[in-house]
């Protein structure tokens, strides 16, 4: 499909998984993730794949784990609430070194801690946060690629807007470069080793009388791989007007698109404000945030939550500028994260308020 078509975000994400070669999907319905599951249920049979409506989120990620262990591209997802149930499996998938795309169609921006710090042990996952449907299409494919590249789950952090907004998009297969062979995939053979292959959080060698599991070895190896992954993955970030800005606004996901729009408007009115939009929430683009902060008096963080990413901004800025939190949880009556404050007017007011207090607004200009 190389011609642009009008697609709802959920259907576009499903189509992006299809063109990227994902052939197994499982999930349990929960708005606004439900339509992604429906999209995959419609598309998987036609391309020879399987989509399962599981009995629970825990069961869904277990199914996807089994499929991924055979080498097929697999994905699952839910909202943050459902991902909480999947959390044990996500961490264990890291230990078992199983690639998977896990989609959080979140009910606000308040799953940041879960996305970047969730789970047990030392497990870490790359987290991609698109701001709109075209980016969701790209990062869905990038997520499946990075999962295979690092043999680790990748999280895609969307929201109600991305799930339900229709946009004109081109969904076509993206090539992100070569990937290692999946010689570890379970295919019924021993792979020439003389031993059965094993995909398990306990290691890749079956327990034998003379060897046994050595979890110390296994954990150390997984840790080395994670450290290598974090060193190698280039954080993705979008910045604008940061060079001479006195106030920098940091926001991710859909709120990041609102902030970018407001900052552009205010710049056109002569306010010296810039923005940084982290795209990979993990690894966090600390260097870009710090560089933007160096010449600024204040870095203000907008999130649709009580303030979570603001911690990573503090760690990135390390005292080089003042930090303010200007966001807050804004909810609709169904708690889907689309409250009245997620709008250009209120966000613009909050940004303008910081800029006034920091003296970068010439009165009468706005």
């Amino acid at each position: 499909m190389s011609e642009p078509a009008l697609m709802e975000g959920s259907a576009a994400i499903a189509e992006a998984m299809v063109v990227a070669g994902c052939r197994f999907f499982a999930g349990y319905p929960m708005t606004p993730f439900t339509e992604v599951l429906e999209g995959m249920a419609k598309r998987m049979p036609a391309v020879g794949g399987v989509c399962m409506n599981a009995e629970s989120e825990i069961e869904a990620i277990g199914m996807a784990w089994g499929a991924a262990a055979t080498g097929v591209r697999a994905a699952t997802g839910s909202t943050g609430q459902g991902l909480a149930l999947m959390q044990e499996s996500i961490s264990e998938l890291t230990l078992a070194r199983v690639p998977m795309l896990v989609i959080n169609m979140a009910r606000s921006g308040a799953d940041y801690f879960q996305a970047t710090r969730g789970g047990h042990g030392d497990s870490r996952q790359i987290v991609l946060a698109p701001m709109d449907v075209p980016e969701a299409v790209e990062f869905t494919q990038l997520g499946l690629h990075l999962a295979d590249k690092y043999r680790n789950p990748v999280l895609l952090y969307g929201d109600y807007f991305i799930a339900h907004t229709y946009e004109s998009v081109v969904v076509e297969r993206r090539d992100f470069g070569p990937l290692p062979d999946k010689d570890w995939a379970l295919d019924g053979t021993s792979g020439g080793s003389g031993r059965a292959k094993l995909i398990s959080p306990l290691g890749e060698v079956k327990q034998r009388d003379d060897v046994g599991y050595d979890l110390a070895d296994h954990h150390a190896q997984v840790e080395r791989d994670l450290v290598a992954m974090e060193r190698e993955v280039e954080p993705l970030v979008e910045t604008g007007y940061t060079d001479d800005a006195e106030v920098i606004i940091v926001a991710f996901g859909t709120p990041g698109k609102f902030v970018r729009y407001c900052v552009r408007e205010l710049r056109a009115e002569g306010v010296r404000v810039g923005y940084v939009r982290p795209i990979t929430l993990h690894p966090f683009p600390s260097e870009a945030v710090r560089q933007a902060a160096l010449g600024a008096a204040c870095v203000a963080v907008y999130e649709n939550s009580a303030g979570q990413m603001v911690d990573d901004v503090r760690l990135a800025v390390l005292g080089a500028a003042d930090i303010e939190f200007i966001g807050g949880l804004t909810m609709d009556s169904s708690a889907f994260g689309v409250g009245p404050e997620i709008a250009v007017g209120p966000i613009r007011s909050k940004i303008l308020d910081v800029c006034r207090r920091r003296g970068c607004v010439t009165e009468g200009s706005v």
Binding site: F161, T254, V338, V344
Partner: protein, 193 residues
């Protein structure tokens, strides 16, 4: 350049279909689109609105639009969210067959007897298509060919029997719009290339 639109009415008037037709017509015209539909659980008679942003390139406007360049009021019920997004430079197309009182707004108001015209040339249910045609004919927002393509794509397979009445309604609306263009000072959507 991006043009933002909002259409409101009551469930059953075809607001969501109209939005689908506009969005797909704009894509057929080679433009990019963002669309967000909003409606309550009550299918008939309840609140329903749709916002659209049409642009020459990737859409910069976030999914909740702050103001609209053009508004469409198909019914006086549930009109407040639209009126709130109108500015003095906006233009508001009003379904004068139904809307029962003058809309309090500083925007320019263009009355179109969409429901009456729909009943006359096609069918009552096609009033929203008359209005889409009128908006396109008056402002040049969408081409006549784009509208044809948009309608063909937007109608679900179980409604293809209604393709003809919808086309008739679009045509009648488009002609009305072109006449309005001569009479009223309606703005032009795109600079002529």
């Amino acid at each position: 350049m991006e043009r933002s639109l909002m259409a409101t009415g009551i469930g059953g008037q075809g607001i969501q279909l109209a939005a689908q037709v506009i969005a797909r017509a704009a894509i057929a015209d080679g433009r990019q689109v963002m669309m967000f539909g909003n409606y309550g659980g009550m299918m008939r008679g309840g609140n329903t609105d749709a916002t659209l942003v049409i642009g020459e390139g990737p859409i910069d406007t976030p999914p909740v639009i702050a103001e609209c360049w053009l508004g469409v009021a198909m019914h006086h019920e549930h009109l407040a969210p639209l009126v709130a997004k109108l500015t003095p430079t906006s233009v508001l197309f009003v379904n004068s067959s139904v809307v029962d009182a003058a809309v309090a707004t500083a925007a320019s108001v263009v009355p179109v007897a969409a429901t009456d015209l729909a009943v006359e040339v096609a069918a009552l249910v096609s009033a929203s298509m008359v209005m889409v045609g009128a908006v396109a004919g008056a402002t040049g927002l969408l081409s006549r060919r784009g509208l044809e393509a948009g309608l063909a794509e937007a109608l679900p397979s179980y409604r293809t029997a209604h393709h003809e009445i919808n086309t008739t309604a679009l045509d009648a609306g488009f002609a009305t719009g072109e006449a309005l263009r001569a009479d009223h000072s309606v703005p032009c959507a795109w600079e002529m290339g």
